[in-house]
């Protein structure tokens, strides 16, 4: 995904790269083709003043700009709905006594995420020219955000600054949402709010700037189309850190390595969540084309959908053979794994490569979930496996099937993951030491809904105690 960097001198080559990638018919492609194509586009792209004039004469902007801008906004709305997807998925996979708390956290995260990103994150992540490692953020202003003559983003970016911002802002909150699921049912509300705010407001924009802001990872040719690393691996490893500091839910891991699963309270809610995430992903990946370029957007829709389908089927197959049962929650995680997996290279490979990438992600996620449970990392919704592990896989897969340097891809995804893990770990340790991270044992047993909110999610229904 190429954002404000479009402003920099890399704009055209990268745009070209993007378009080429979209055309790339099959699994890989020669670097040479790319280079030529870059030339091609660079020369082709000199704007013809006459035509621009002709158009603007109607108070109408360059139509391709208008369409692309509109698509980016619609994509932002689709990414927004992913937050409802996360909210219902997390609520469905946790106990009914903690449902109000989960929902509250999700309402908070999207709201906080939008505001912090406007106040600091956006300009910290897209600073224009900077040292490549860190830039201080600043609030968005109205200056030139509304311009429609490319003066905001350069010819590479067919959208207004407003559209660029809102699309990016919807992404930002995702990081904290991923954590929210993993730490569910035991984290103190105020502590979560602090952690979430720091992660979204300060940390996410830093590693984001390394690539999408035109930082050092971008400089070395690292590729992450829509964020397998920058969004998902980041969120997944931040979640891992938080879970490690927080510890597992009481009663999950029994003596002698026995595991007593803590069941989610509503499979329909979980399924609604996954379908909404699937829907939103069309905006997440499709919108990351950053224009309505037909070939790119349509290819991305196809690879995204096929990878998701392959992920669901392969995880069904694996869980059926390994666990002996067609486990719905595994199928749901497999579908998401496929989506996370394709995100880094959705524009860079053909449909059957996408199927392969998704299918492998679906296999990985099942074993990852079993693995983390074995080492007592308690992740109620599987966020670490789905977003963290498959985020790394997706970034590597983009290298393998998308024709990018695999080593560079590995370096990139690891540096982002490690950054997310370390910083979040330190953050959680500090919060734990100062305000405390975990609710009391009694509150955990009684549920956070009563404890933190004094509310019940389903007051009309008779609840069953686990035998």
């Amino acid at each position: 995904m190429i954002k404000k960097i479009a402003k920099s001198r890399w704009a055209l080559p990268l745009t070209a790269l993007l378009l080429i990638a979209a055309f790339s018919p099959a699994f890989g492609q020669e670097a040479s083709d790319v280079v030529e194509a870059v030339e091609a586009v660079v020369t082709a792209a000199e704007p013809d003043e006459d035509f621009l004039a002709l158009q603007t004469q109607y108070g109408v902007t360059f139509d391709f700009f208008t369409v692309s801008n509109l698509w980016t906004l619609i994509a932002a709305a689709l990414v927004f709905i992913m937050h409802l997807g996360f909210a219902t998925l997390e609520a469905g996979l946790t106990q009914s006594k903690n449902t109000v708390n989960i929902l509250f956290k999700n309402v908070f995260v999207i709201s906080m995420g939008l505001l912090t990103y406007a106040a600091y994150g956006f300009n910290g992540m897209y600073p224009g020219d900077f040292n490549g490692f860190f830039a201080v953020g600043s609030p968005i202003t109205s200056a030139d955000y509304g311009n429609t003559d490319f003066s905001y983003g350069g010819t590479g970016l067919c959208m207004t600054g407003w559209s660029d911002f809102i699309f990016q802002a919807m992404f930002a909150a995702t990081a904290a949402t991923i954590i929210s699921g993993a730490v569910a049912e035991r984290i103190k509300l105020p502590s979560f709010m602090v952690v979430g705010t720091v992660v979204v407001g300060l940390l996410y924009p830093i590693s984001g700037s390394w690539k999408w802001g035109g930082g050092w990872l971008d400089g070395m040719g690292f590729y992450d189309f829509a964020g397998s690393s920058l969004v998902h691996a980041f969120g997944g490893f931040a979640a891992l850190a938080a879970v490690m500091v927080l510890g597992p839910r009481k009663g999950k891991y029994l003596s002698g390595g026995r595991i007593k699963p803590i069941l989610g309270h509503s499979m329909p809610l979980a399924t609604i969540g996954v379908f909404l995430l699937f829907l939103g992903w069309f905006g997440f990946n499709g919108g990351s084309v950053l224009s309505a370029a037909p070939e790119a957007v349509s290819l991305v829709f196809v690879t995204t959908a096929l990878a998701a389908a392959a992920g669901a089927l392969s995880s069904i197959l694996v869980s059926w053979t390994v666990i002996k049962k067609p486990d719905l929650s595994m199928a749901l995680n497999g579908l998401l794994a496929g989506l996370v997996g394709i995100t880094a290279g959705a524009d860079s490979m053909g449909p059957w490569a996408a199927v392969l990438v998704g299918a492998i992600a679906g296999v990985i996620v099942v074993f990852a979930i079993l693995f983390f449970d074995k080492i007592k990392i308690d992740d109620p919704v599987g966020a670490i496996s789905v977003h963290g592990v498959c985020g790394i896989w997706g970034t590597v897969a983009a290298g393998i099937f998308g024709g990018y340097n695999v080593l560079t891809q590995i370096i990139g995804t690891l540096s982002v993951s490690v950054f997310a893990f370390v910083t979040t770990f330190v953050l959680c340790v500090i919060v734990k030491a100062t305000m405390g991270l975990r609710v009391s044992e009694d509150e955990e047993a009684e549920g956070l809904d009563i404890g933190e909110h004094g509310q019940e999610a389903y007051p009309d229904f008779q609840v069953a105690s686990k035998g």
């Binding site: 007593k260 929650s329 979930i369 079993l370 035998g467």
Partner: protein
């Protein structure tokens, strides 16, 4: 008077109710319960970890009846609730010293 307390399989409730109506029992109170017994629960699976559900859904039927028909009532429930398979349940007979119908203040057998 006696309180006949029967713990049966849920899907047998309808038949038990009809059997009781036939022998003229006009009222009963039903409670959803979970049962633990010789009939072992099944193992379920969630996100890869197995666990056993020991408690099985059962239905408890409380019927207050006069001394005279206790036997008939127990019989009726027994034959209606029987499948012959393990887990059919139990019937307990408990003494009632007094019974009152709230609406009419009637008491004793007349209240039932």
């Amino acid at each position: 008077m006696k309180l006949v307390k029967a713990i049966i399989k849920p899907f047998k409730l309808e038949e038990v109710k009809e059997a009781l109506s036939e022998i003229g029992v006009e009222g009963m109170t039903v409670t959803e319960v979970k049962g633990f017994g010789r009939q072992k629960g099944h193992t379920e699976i969630y996100r890869g970890s197995e666990y056993t559900v020991d408690f099985l859904p059962k239905v408890m039927v409380d019927v207050a009846v006069g001394e005279d028909i206790v036997g008939k009532v127990v019989e009726a429930i027994k034959s209606a609730a029987k499948t012959g398979k393990i887990g059919d349940g139990k019937i307990f007979v408990i003494p009632i010293e007094e019974a009152v119908r709230i609406r009419t203040d009637e008491s004793g057998e007349g209240a039932i």
